[in-house]
Amino acid sequence: MSTPVIKVDYPGLMTTVQDLGRYGFQSLGVPASGALDLFQSRLANILVGNFETDAVLEITILGPKLVFLESVVIALTGADLTANLDGEYIPRWEPIKVEKGSELSFGECRNGARAYLSVSGNGFDVPLVMGSRSTYLQGNFGGYDGRSLQKEDVLNSVSDTHKPETKMMPSGFVQPDYSEIKKIRIVPGAQNQKFTPSEFQNLTSSTYKISNDSDRIGYKLEGPYIQPIDSVDIISEGNPAGAIQVSGDGVITILLSDRGTTGGYSKIASVINSDLNLLAQLMPGDSISFVLVSVDEARNALMIQEKLIHAVLNGTDFNENQNKNRITIDGVSLEVVDESGEIFSYSSFNDEVKAKSQVSAEVNVGEQVFNLDAEIDNN
């Protein structure tokens, strides 16, 4: 049953209700919206026993002051915005029991830019708008009355908040230090052919600063201008999240969750999905550079993030390097499993094999047997 859980005493800089986004309506011009750091939004929910798709609060740079109207379990993930519960600093990435009447406040932004707050009871109960609870600020719909939170707002939880099936982060999980994010990985964009190879290299060899003109629609970057061979104008086509758009003046903008569904500027490249979660933790003034990767590498990066999610859900250990073993056939990455169906990893080798750099491998795909020379990646 829907229960009032939080009253806003002070709204902070910008706090919005978000879930994983609004899908199925982009062909009608309705933007996807959703948490900018989808990964941390999912983790926050899982830790308090919610569905990954439940609604959380996205707290930007300067946090709100919230009063709890009911005993709940909360989790905070993402940025370190100096969260205090009744005056005491509380850790991130763990479920925390909060008594009715307690106050959660935030201080200095120490690391990252966006924190995610989940509450037990399947998250925040705002109306589903086109299948999603995400706030779309420009359209004034979704989330809490289509806007960011204000003083005196009361947020309900969807269901009963007591006795949730909480989870813990696995051993092997290291809290991210967002100040270390310097490189953002990209794949070529739909109009990369509109730029010379040397201009593309200009993009990947330069450093760009995130400008003050940055929000949930996109980050405008300061740095070397990018010039097309002829014109950047195209007839309107769809914009993916992460698209690096070049406007007529040569300025580049990375398009994010609240971007317009279509646009008329060329897209030279696109930030890969795993790194969009990192980008969400940067703020105006931070510097980045771009690294070109293949679409398979992009998928692999996403799978590593997924491994952590699986480890939290299943209560197993997390080892980032498990994913390093893969077989690629004609550009397709295959997961390697042994006969019992367990994922086969480097640690499955005995020491004698580990000492070698190359081994012979036999791969059975259906009825066919392939004999391969396999390189061992000792990293």
């Binding site: 309506f25 062909s27 420009q138 979704g142 086509e237 993916p240 992460g242």
Partner: protein, 239 residues
């Protein structure tokens, strides 16, 4: 007859593929776009998360954890080359849209008249005489890009876009016309306003129009008529 070029499949991001049927604003090219878009609307393909429709393109988003780029590309190619032969566009409807072409609402009527050398009545006649197709939607929720505007009405975008264009405003630029469903910034020449609701976030079908629909404008002449229709619209959405 000139053979149309084969569609191109372009990597657009690590979870989307752009299917490109051409590079121009052209009704034949757009009909292929609409045929793919109605196929995607009518078939639930588990790996597909969403898609957007452009003038000559469809951008398809997929779940890159479920399927690799390589396999998804094969799947889309198969759909485009084998399943779209009939070029069928489903549920295409004709929507008649009332417009009050007054100087109060049509902020750029005088400027359009000056640029084109047409009288006010001629502008209205030309705008209401044609049947338009919704080529694509975007810019803001429910904004239709209507192709096929009479070339006599071809005017460039405003040099300085307006920060605020009223909801319902009807604009023209190039050989296109469109309607602003919600209050937003905008750079098109505004020639009138419709009392119809083009977007309602709380409805199951949130937009009045969808890509492929046909639109015909008709003139209403008094503010009373405008308010009456507007009032009825409000009631419809309160249901």
């Amino acid at each position: 007859m000139r053979k149309m070029s084969e569609p191109q499949y372009v990597l657009s991001s690590d979870d989307s593929i752009l299917v490109k049927f051409g590079e121009e604003i052209d009704s034949k090219i757009n009909s292929k776009v609409l045929s793919l878009s109605s196929y995607l609307t009518n078939h639930q393909i588990p790996e597909i998360k969403d898609f957007t429709v452009g003038y000559s393109t469809v951008l398809i988003f997929y779940d890159s954890l479920k399927i690799s780029h390589h396999l998804f590309l094969q799947k889309i190619k198969e759909i485009v080359t084998k399943r779209l032969k009939k070029n069928k566009i489903s549920d295409q409807k004709i929507v008649e849209i009332p417009v009050l072409y007054s100087k109060e609402f049509g902020l750029d009527l005088d400027s359009v008249a000056n640029q084109t050398g047409l009288a006010l009545e001629e502008i209205i006649d030309l705008h209401t005489s044609k049947e338009y197709i919704v080529y694509t939607m975007g810019f803001s929720p429910g904004f239709p890009y209507l192709g096929g505007l009479d070339s006599k009405l071809d005017v460039p975008r405003l040099k300085k876009p307006r920060i605020k264009v009223e909801k319902g405003s009807v604009g023209i630029t190039g050989n296109q016309t469109g309607i602003y469903p919600i209050e937003s910034p905008g750079g098109w020449n505004i020639i009138g306003r419709t009392p119809l609701e083009l977007f309602n976030s709380t409805s199951d079908s949130p937009t009045l129009l969808k890509p492929g629909d046909k639109v015909k404008f008709f003139e209403i002449t008094t503010l009373d008529e405008f308010d009456q229709i507007n009032h009825l619209e409000g009631k419809n959405f309160k249901k």
